[in-house]
Symmetry: D2
Subunit: 158 residues, 4 copies
DNA sequence: TTTT
DNA sequence: TTTT
C-alpha cells in the first residue's frame, strides 16, 4: 500500500453511545465526539473551537463503548476516515464522514467502585474471533499494539 | 485544551489543486486526495480500499500546492478535521468534512532539473504573514517543527 | 522537507518535572513519562507493558509543566524524537533519546478549586517571541493548532 | 489501557536493512532511518536537521524489508518506542531507544518492471502467515488497518 | 519512577 | 450534543 489514513482524536462524548447488533451478533457503536481546542489568536484573545466528529466502533470496541462510555466521557480514539454516501428519500445525494475507530483509550479518572480492572481496555477494529473458541464473540481484543510473538524475548540478535 | 483533532494522510491527488485568492491575497488550495490501503482479508484475498478526502490548505501551504502539486502527486498531509454545514438552494442541509492541512510533505521522486531545493517544503497552518513586510505573502512558513530558539544549543542543563 | 518525525504519547509522569531556566530566562522542563499498554497475548492472558520516555519541553510548555504537572499527572504529548550523544568522564560514548514536546494536553480530571481556567493549555515548540513586545519572553505561544488568519471566515470560495 | 506510545516517521534508510532469523524462522530486520526536516529559522535562513532512528521490524514486515528496502529507500514507518538497556563488557549501563514498526509503507516511486504488485505492501506487526515456515507460530496477526469483518457491508443501522 |  |  502506498496510503495512510489515520485520525487521532481526544474529546468528550456528546451523548451516550448508540449501540446496535448486526446479524452474527456483531456490535456497532456510534457516537458524537467533541474535540475542543483552545488557543490565543494574534490579539492574544483566548479562542475556543469545538469540532464534532462521528465515531463508529465495531465488535469488541463497540461493546466496550456500550459498557463503559457515556455522555461526557473523555476518550482517545485512533482510527481512519471513511465517507459514506447515499441518496435520501428525495433523491438528494448525501455524504457523511465518520471516524472508524481502531483503538480506544478511556481517559476519565476512574472513581469506580470495584477493582477498576475493567478500566484497562484497548483493542482495535480488527477482531480475531476466528481464533477463539465457540461462543466467544466479542472477546479478546487483540489490538494495534500487540507485539509480535517472540519480541518479548530480549534476544535481539544485533 | 483537553482536545486533540489530528489527521495524517498519505495519498495521491485526484486532480490538480484548485487555488483561489481571498481578500488580502490569502491563498486557499483545495484538492481531493485518495488514500489506498491494501490488506488481506481473512480468506487471504488481497483487498484494496480507496478513500477520498477533501484537503484544504491555507496561505503558504496553498501556494506550495499551486506551484508543486498536480494530479497524481503523492503527498503526506497532517492536519485536522473540520466539518462545515450549509443549506443548498433547495434548503437542504448539507455537510462537508474536510482536512485542513497544517503540514505538507511532497513524496514524489524528484526528477527535476535544477537544484531541487524547492523540493524542501514544509509549513503549517500557523502562518505568520502578519509579521512580514508588504508583498511578502507566502514566505517564511514557520511550521510545526520549528524548534524553539535556544534548543539547538546543546547545553541542556540536565 | 521530505521527512516526518512525530511522536504521540499518553502516559503518567513518574516524578515531578525538573524545570530549569537557561540564559534569557528560557524554561526547560524534563520528566519521565510512563506509557502503559495492556493487551491479551495469544493465550488470553492480560499483559501489561510499561515503557519509560524522557520528555523535554521548552519555553511556554516548560512553564506550564512547572505550574501544573506533577508526579502521576496524565498527559498527552505530541513531539519529535531527538537523540543526543556525548562522552562521559570515562570517555564512553553515551546516547539518550528524548521526546521534545511540541504540544501538551493535560488529561487529569480537574477537581481544582478556582475557575479551572488554567486547565486550558496548549502550546508548541514553535514560539514567536519576535512578535511580542519587549520583556515578554515566554508568553503567548501560538501553537500547532492555531488556525491561519481568515480561516474562521466561513467564506471558502469553493 | 490508559497509555499511548506511537511514532510516525518518514525518512530514508541509511543502509540496507540487517535481517536475521531467530529460532522458529522469525525474521527481524533492523536499519537506521534518517528523517530530515527543513525549516527557516527566525533570521529566515533555511535550516536542515537530520535525526537518525533505529527501526526494528518483525516477521512479515522484516521479510518485506529484506525483499524491498535498501539504502536510500524512502519509507513511512508507524510504530512505538522501546528502550532497551544492558551492560557492556566493561559493566557500563547502556541504553538504546528503538522504533518497533507496526506498519510500513514504501514511498519510492516504483519504476519496476513487471506489474508492481509487490509494491503494494503493508502490514503491521501483523503478517501474512502464508509466508511462514512450518510450525506456524506467529500466525494471524490482525493488523492496524484490517477492517473488521462485516464492516464492508454497507448496512450500518444508523 | 507513573497509572489502572 | 461534550468538556474545561
Amino acid at each position: 500500500m502506498r496510503g495512510v489514513n489515520k485520525v487521532i482524536l481526544i474529546g468528550n462524548l456528546g451523548r451516550d453511545p448508540d449501540v446496535q447488533f448486526l446479524e452474527g451478533n456483531i456490535a456497532v457503536a456510534k457516537f458524537s465526539l467533541a474535540t475542543t481546542e483552545t488557543f490565543k489568536d494574534r490579539a492574544g484573545k483566548l479562542i475556543s473551537q469545538t469540532e464534532w466528529h462521528t465515531v463508529v466502533l465495531w465488535r469488541g470496541l463497540a461493546e466496550l463503548a456500550q459498557k463503559y462510555l457515556h455522555k461526557g466521557s473523555l476518550v482517545y480514539i485512533e482510527g481512519r476516515l471513511r465517507t459514506r454516501s447515499w441518496e435520501d428519500k428525495e433523491g438528494n445525494k448525501k455524504f457523511a464522514t465518520e471516524v472508524v475507530g481502531d483503538n480506544l483509550v478511556m481517559l476519565d479518572k476512574r472513581m469506580d467502585v470495584g477493582n477498576g480492572d475493567h478500566a484497562v481496555h484497548h483493542g482495535s477494529g480488527s477482531s480475531t474471533s476466528g481464533q477463539q473458541g465457540p461462543g466467544h464473540h466479542g472477546e479478546g481484543y487483540p489490538g494495534i499494539e500487540i507485539p509480535p510473538m517472540g519480541e518479548a524475548a530480549d534476544d535481539l540478535p544485533f
